[in-house]
Amino acid sequence: MLHILLDSLAMIALCYVMGFLFRGFYRQFNARLQRRWGPSIWQNFYDNLKFLLKSETLIHGPMFFFGPIIIAAGAITTVLFIPFLKDSIWLQGVSAHGNLILIIYLLVVGPLGNALAVGSSGNPFGVMGVTRGLTRLMGLEVPFFLGLALVMLQHETASVQAIMAAQDSIAHWNLITNPLAFAVILLPFIASQNGSPFDVVGAPVEVYAGPRVEFGGRLLGVLMTQNMMMTVAKLVLMVDLFLGGASNIFELIAKAFALFLLTTAISATFPRLKTEQTVDFFWTVPLGVAVLGVILNVWLI
């Protein structure tokens, strides 16, 4: 019991620290691309703490308050159901009691809890953002899930630990053995991270900050915290599934960072798509590749 508690706290802390460092790096990276100095790598930490330390928070009713809390609880649950390391008793959380499909659905708890809170505020711009978010979710989930299904089919299990264990050497990484699945998943993955070509949901100015329009003060702090944790959780999941997992924490950070670098580079390159363009894109290019992958995997092999 104590082990699980410590383990869970460690996972959450790791997620949080990695989260704000990665995000800080992202801002640095973007600034350098734009020939600026950019903020310090700790900037996201400052921002987050500043919000958490705001002395006033406005709420629009109980659901508005509980929405971010639900999201945060969902994020923590998600983190705990993802195994961070393989062949280790540490950083496992309760991942033995879950599986990939559960994790995919837990990833959605965030957007839905958010939607509830935003709806509760009654701000039309917020709901507009939520609509965009749910629409994007509809677009990205199909190729995303299909790509994951290819992996599940390949290993005939939905357990992340088993998939991770099966990739014992670099030649057995799913990135190598099933590159099509990775190609299918990469762009939806960026979208699920609210990364750049697909970040129309919270587009400032256009929809007045979108879903977060009414959030301020400490609730916004909670939302930022969970966002950073989820960023890392998704990266770790991808590392587990495609990069063979990690045996120790440094390997984990390295692999996650490599993956993050890839998505950052893509995000920094492409301009924003409109909602319907996003969905249409997901239903043509990644889904097309996914169908190709299915044909190759199921019929030809």
Partner: protein, 209 residues
């Protein structure tokens, strides 16, 4: 109507200023210092482009001036913002929106006023529909004067504000809270029937949740 009856007009402002300055040396604990330090590292700006000063604010985010390196970044909505920047002269019509935006920001919150117009009306000193002294309507923490101030001076203003926040000095929002009746009376004087509805500010006088 006035919160304090001992003074009138300019005297009141003088008293207010003095009383706030007198608190500046109040002893600060470690926690307050840390909090102040964290707050000054991260300022989300709600830029209100009321006048010509708006044009000077855009370069602030560009590569040349790069305000982000000070932790200063734009916020889309007042709920997320820490600093309200009033850029230039303020028409009466705009004042209502500015007040609304200011009241929607979550404390602690700060106001930076750009240009001479916000101090004394500037070149619009005799205009019938601009306000002359912003500080009568919302509490200004930092004036950046000039017509218009360049981005460099704007950054200078921000740094000064950051220093004040870091020192934990009391800021305008506390003044606004304490003297809400006075501010409202001033606002009502220029806005007349055009005041925002009572629910937008009556909580200042009441308790919190």
């Amino acid at each position: 109507m006035y919160h304090k009856s001992a003074c009138e007009g300019f005297q009141c402002e003088q008293q207010l200023l003095e009383s706030s300055l007198s608190q500046a040396d109040a002893g600060l604990g470690v926690v307050e210092r840390l909090v102040g330090w964290l707050r000054q590292r991260s300022l989300f700006v709600l830029a209100y482009g009321t006048g010509c000063g708006a044009i000077e604010m855009r370069p602030l985010m560009t590569s040349r001036f790069d305000a982000e390196r000070f932790g200063i970044i734009g916020a889309a909505t007042p709920r997320q913002a820490d600093v309200l920047v009033i850029s230039g002269y303020l028409a009466i019509k705009t004042l209502k929106r500015v007040i609304r935006s200011y009241e929607q920001m979550q404390e602690p919150k700060y106001v930076i006023a750009l240009g001479s117009c916000t101090i004394n009306g500037g070149m619009y000193w005799d205009s019938y529909n601009t306000i002359k002294c912003l500080d009568h309507y919302i509490p200004v923490d930092m004036y950046v004067n000039g017509c218009m101030p360049r981005p460099e001076s704007l950054i200078e203003g921000f740094s000064a504000l950051q220093a004040r926040i870091g020192r934990g000095e009391p800021s305008g929002y506390q003044r606004y809270r304490d003297n809400i009746d006075w501010y409202k009376a001033n606002q009502r004087r220029v806005l007349g029937d055009n005041m925002p509805p009572a629910y937008t500010y009556d909580w200042y006088s009441g308790g919190a949740v």
